[in-house]
Symmetry: C2
Subunit: 418 residues, 2 copies
């Protein structure tokens, strides 16, 4: 059966599954607190709003709703999405949009139509793992651009563009996963200049941009680009997963005409179109004008949960973790004190099982998968009580690691001189 097994390409046969998914398999265990997932708060999922839309769609059900639809998406949802983007300051018409099966599909299709196998794509130091996986499966080589608390370090980008010559760059400028970073306006403008100068196509991924707590982030790159003298090539996508519900699997892609044409051809071959009834339900939801008040609710709730986790971490893991209080999004990105050991991902799984608190280590978001002195802690999904208790357990566990390290340092002869 060796040859039969060999039927799977090594690219896929040797790929590892998502470490976060492996963690989530443990999240349901008794007495486990998970700060690992990027799932919305179940209490904030709009069941009633969806229920009303379902009834509306049911009442208006026509033969057309059951037939094959356009690859680009249902006209109602393209119109509603264009209106939403316009309201946010973008220039976008329904005809320019493609409805995708979540923004994940937009990432995947763009990777396929833009990047030749073996070619490079420039990405931030820490990234959403499923984006990196999509790029890897497209055969792309990942080119790291240094990243700090303000997102991609654009000042250090130009030498990379000169030496590595990537034609495509992936960036999450708003409340990035995992870093929570927001790219300041000056960096955005400089990134657009560089993209135009070096003919780099930007993939701007914006799933979290609406989840700001204090003030809205600067305008998206695609919007700033529309005002530029020498425009760059920018594709922009956003998702309804974080602001309505992940289960619908609906996202929106805005792309220049040649890329849009290619993505439509790719999507025809990938799945013909996304589910029509999900699209009609979401159109009905958006049509009821409930999104704006719902966003207010989400912002307030996530801001409160973010503060709860940050306060609890300061109380229970003071000195062991260093982090900025999030200004939006779903994550605290915390740096481990420098004397704490750099553990491989599996050790953080074991840590989670031992201390009953799941966290995702930085390795999961890095290009190399090598151990990193960072943890991603999600405040979105757990209850406030669980956030506090999770921080307490995490603090206790980290203290254990710290004391073990210090006793190791004392007792391991090779390390006494280090």
């Amino acid at each position: 059966m060796n040859t039969a097994r060999g039927a799977v390409r090594p690219l896929y046969a040797q790929a590892s599954g998502s470490p976060i998914r492996a963690m989530l398999a443990l999240a349901g265990r008794e007495d486990m607190i998970s700060l690992a997932g990027g799932h919305p708060d179940p209490a904030l999922l709009p069941i009633e709003w969806l229920r009303e839309s379902l009834l509306e769609v049911t009442g208006k059900l026509q033969g057309r709703s059951l037939q094959y639809g356009a690859t680009e998406g249902q006209p109602e949802l393209r119109e509603a999405s264009a209106a939403l983007l316009t309201q946010r300051g973008l220039t976008a018409t329904a005809a320019e949009l493609i409805i995708t099966t979540g923004s994940q599909q937009a990432i995947d299709l763009l990777a396929r139509v833009l990047i030749e196998p073996g070619e490079g794509i420039a990405v931030e130091s820490f990234n959403y793992p499923a984006a990196l996986q999509a790029f890897r499966f497209a055969g792309a080589r990942l080119i790291e651009v240094p990243t700090d608390a303000q997102g991609m370090d654009v000042d250090r980008l130009e030498p990379i563009l000169l030496t590595e010559r990537p034609r495509v760059l992936y960036v999450v400028p708003n409340f990035a996963n995992p870093t929570g970073a927001v790219m300041p306006l000056a960096r955005r403008l400089r990134l657009l200049e560089l993209a135009a100068q070096y003919d780099v196509t930007l993939i701007e991924d914006d799933p979290y941009g609406e989840l700001w707590f204090g003030e809205a982030p600067p305008p998206p790159l695609v919007q700033l680009n529309q005002r530029a003298d020498s425009p760059a090539q920018v594709t922009y996508m956003t998702s309804y997963s974080k602001v309505v519900a992940p289960a619908l699997r609906l996202g929106v892609l805005l792309a220049p005409a040649d890329i849009q044409r290619a993505v439509v051809l790719a999507k025809q071959a990938a799945d013909v179109h996304s589910g029509s009834l999900e699209q009609l339900k979401l159109s009905a939801m958006l049509g009821s004008n409930c999104l704006t008040p719902h966003l207010d609710v989400l912002r307030k709730a996530y801001a409160a949960k973010s503060a709860t986790l940050a306060d609890a971490l300061r109380r229970h893991a003071d000195g062991l973790l260093k982090f900025d209080t999030p200004q939006g999004g779903m994550f605290v990105w915390a740096r481990l004190r420098s004397d704490l050991p750099l553990l491989p991902t599996q050790d953080w799984v074991d840590f989670g099982l031992q201390h009953k608190v799941l966290v995702v280590p930085g390795a999961a978001f890095s290009i190399s998968n090598a151990a990193q002195p960072w943890l991603r802690l999600s405040f979105a999904n757990p209850s406030p009580a669980s956030l506090q208790q999770g921080a307490e357990r995490l603090g206790r566990g980290l203290q254990g690691l710290a004391s073990r390290t210090s006793s190791n340092t004392k007792t391991t002869p090779e390390r006494t001189s280090a």
Copy 2:
């Protein structure tokens, strides 16, 4: 903007859209009869059944239904699909199945995980265009296996396996699109022997298998393989598009464990999972035990429409077209009389506009896209009256072509000696 345009890979930038989709854009014109699409009859789409399921799902809506779900699919739909396959004689458990966004996605994901860019895949002479497109986009080279009225000519396969060494073969054994062919049992068994002997992974695509008119086709390859002494590697997929509704975009993939793992990883990166509510709706529909009576209705209705089109063609295009009366599926595959001209696809579009009847020329289904002496005529979507009138218009148009050809033959000096 040249470089910007160059951002799209030539594989996609130079790809042509589906000629069938181009035809369908004309199908809505006044007084046009379309025998071109593969769309189900709108009168046979189960609006009431879906409406009841929508109400059921609405009533039972939980937070879980709105949250991220498993990449493999909603448990309810995997269970219901396993029960359905088991009822049809296959050995399949829910754990072995993946719910895909239509069987199109299964084709695409299998192409991606199985075929290295540049590698070959063996396919029938005439194929579903979107499958060929998915293989091309995966970078595959298409290897033609001669095909006749009984599907893939398995006797002529072995020399191809010896010389071309494909590791993957795509086949639609039941009421294939466009040929309508059903592969006899003996060919199925021989194909499995060859696949086992030459370590070829079979992709068995079965969207039409339940739409038989007289008697059910032989068992699927995957089922026969389960009884074989030396089993081959077979992946099997079917779709709910033709038997319930295309809009749901739901299909089922059954694959050996190593391929299943790879497809799940690929799907995580492609779209995370298919829409949950579409899955819950379909589960509710299947749970109501209405599928069996619905299939009876579909079989009778499509059998009657097939007979209507076949009779009308014999009346109006006698001698100009040669075809077998379909035993299932949605298509008449008709050979043009040998003296009729081999026209490129665009000429058939013009023919359609002139005679107000759209048909798809064989070129659309061929590997080379070269003109073929075949037409695919769909009886699924038009009303019986349109089928009759469409056949009449087609016959008149073909007679026009025939008389033009014969007058050309008389007047063109170069051809008088041919």
